[in-house]
Symmetry: C2
Subunit: 289 residues, 2 copies
């Protein structure tokens, strides 16, 4: 089912919605997965300014099966769906809407995708001290998912945006039992937190293409045994990950989280086990190492 010529009246359609939609890997990843599984699905991109129009389309057009949701709609789409799980409500954004029995179900796959990336790398975060850099949307999803589902010893949050930082810290304290420490990002706090962290999760855009030499973490702060997870996936190996690898630390590239969030979407959209290697290969082929 890899040819457009085979699309027919029963073909189910999924799409990424966002605005603007620049280059997006999602169509390539999902379409490769449909082809590998022989599923009669096709995945397209719908740039839209209107979450209302997107929700009306998903409700009204039978063949539409679900949406991946990206910037700037991850919050606004929550007002358009019929059902959102408790954890996703606390996270405060979703990246997926799936139509199930005519109802629109909203969910996030970033947090679960990050957790799966950690587990796939053999990292058990239970009882470990986590340092999260950043308090934006992806950082929120990961911090909440880990606090809710893994019970780390503690999570230290650092961000330069004190509003986002205190909001996330407060929400995490209200919503989970995990000890939460929050501090403004500066050299002193970073050094203190790095001295205690078992797992560093970088959840800001720093180091993203084209500023591939940027990093928040001076290499001298690394310690033996730390795990370094960067949510930035382009380039595949950020400066942070290259520094950590050079120091001999275990690294987890953001591409793993990116693949996993798509894997979890694919499985919700289709009800089928995802061909993970096929999807990972599409990501790897399209990213700079």
């Amino acid at each position: 089912m890899s040819e457009r010529g085979e699309i027919g009246a029963k073909t189910r359609v999924c799409a990424v919605i966002g605005n603007p939609l620049g280059h997006s890997l999602s169509p390539a990843i999902h379409n490769a997965a449909y082809a590998a599984c022989g599923l009669d699905f096709v995945y397209v991109a719908f740039q839209t300014a209107s979450v209302e129009a997107a929700a009306a389309a998903l409700r009204g057009l039978d063949n539409l099966a679900g949406f991946s949701v990206t910037i700037p709609h991850k919050l606004a789409i929550m007002g358009q769906v019929d059902e959102i799980g408790d954890l996703d409500r606390r996270i405060g954004s979703i990246n997926t809407v799936v139509k199930e029995d005519g109802r629109l179900v909203g969910l996030g796959t970033d947090g679960a995708g990050a957790l799966k990336a950690l587990r796939d790398a053999g990292v058990d975060a239970a009882g470990r001290r986590i340092l999260m850099l950043g308090a934006g949307g992806a950082a929120r999803a990961i911090a909440f998912t880990l606090a809710d589902q893994v019970r780390p010893a503690a999570i230290d949050l650092l961000d330069i945006d004190e509003g986002a930082l205190q909001a996330l810290a407060g929400d995490l304290r209200d919503g989970t039992d995990t000890p939460i420490h929050a501090a403004v990002m500066n050299d002193k706090h970073l050094a203190e937190c790095m001295a205690q962290a078992d797992i560093l999760i970088h959840g800001t855009p720093v180091g993203m293409h084209p500023k591939t030499e940027a990093t928040l973490v001076p290499p001298e702060l690394f310690r033996d045994g730390q795990v370094v997870f960067d949510i930035v996936y382009n380039p595949l190996h950020t400066r942070l990950l290259r520094d950590a690898r050079e120091r001999g630390l275990r690294i987890i590239p953001g591409a793993e989280m990116f693949v996993n969030q798509a894997v979890l979407q694919f499985e919700r959209f289709t009800g089928h086990s995802a061909p993970v290697e096929v999807m990972r290969n599409v990501v790897m082929e399209n990213l700079q190492s």
Copy 2:
């Protein structure tokens, strides 16, 4: 651009909307044409009960370029568009909606497709007497288009549904200068009209698969020099066309009109000249001869 794997953020999406959507050739025809022209388009099917949802989707989702419209939405969709040409208003139904500069433009391509089929077959209907069997949607589109654009000597209309018949006759008399004769379909009227007709256009579903031996026209009514056009396209050669061909008459299969209405849609959706032979081949490969 024939692989789903190449679909990206800029890919424009067209679709057929209808309810229910059984087997539809439209995705295969349009996708083959996109591939032949190297256009970054994909054509899908959206079964929907709601013309409002379809219009909201077309307005709100930037990548959506246009819809082919089929049963039961050809009338209701007229209330959802911003602009409809005068001839299409008089016909009273449309089969195409295209988004142009953010406005939804409705139009019909059945009448123009039929006219092109006649012309492609070398038939000039100007000054000729036309017998139209049927007064339904497709018959209306063809009769209005011929009356408006070709100036036949006269159009005779026969149908068993007197309401539809008198409505079409009245609308044609109001809207065009072509002499219109309407009578209930029976053996006597059919024989009288066949004795005068230069061009017979069969515009009812009689003879459509699976009742492929049915025909409204006893072969003894055919006269030398008549042209016989059947809008039924499945099978490719209906009983009516086989009888006419046996009588040595020039025949025009409905597949030609079907190809042409898709050709005209393709050109409105993409702004590109259609690869007519590619589109015809898809139709021919999928129809029983």
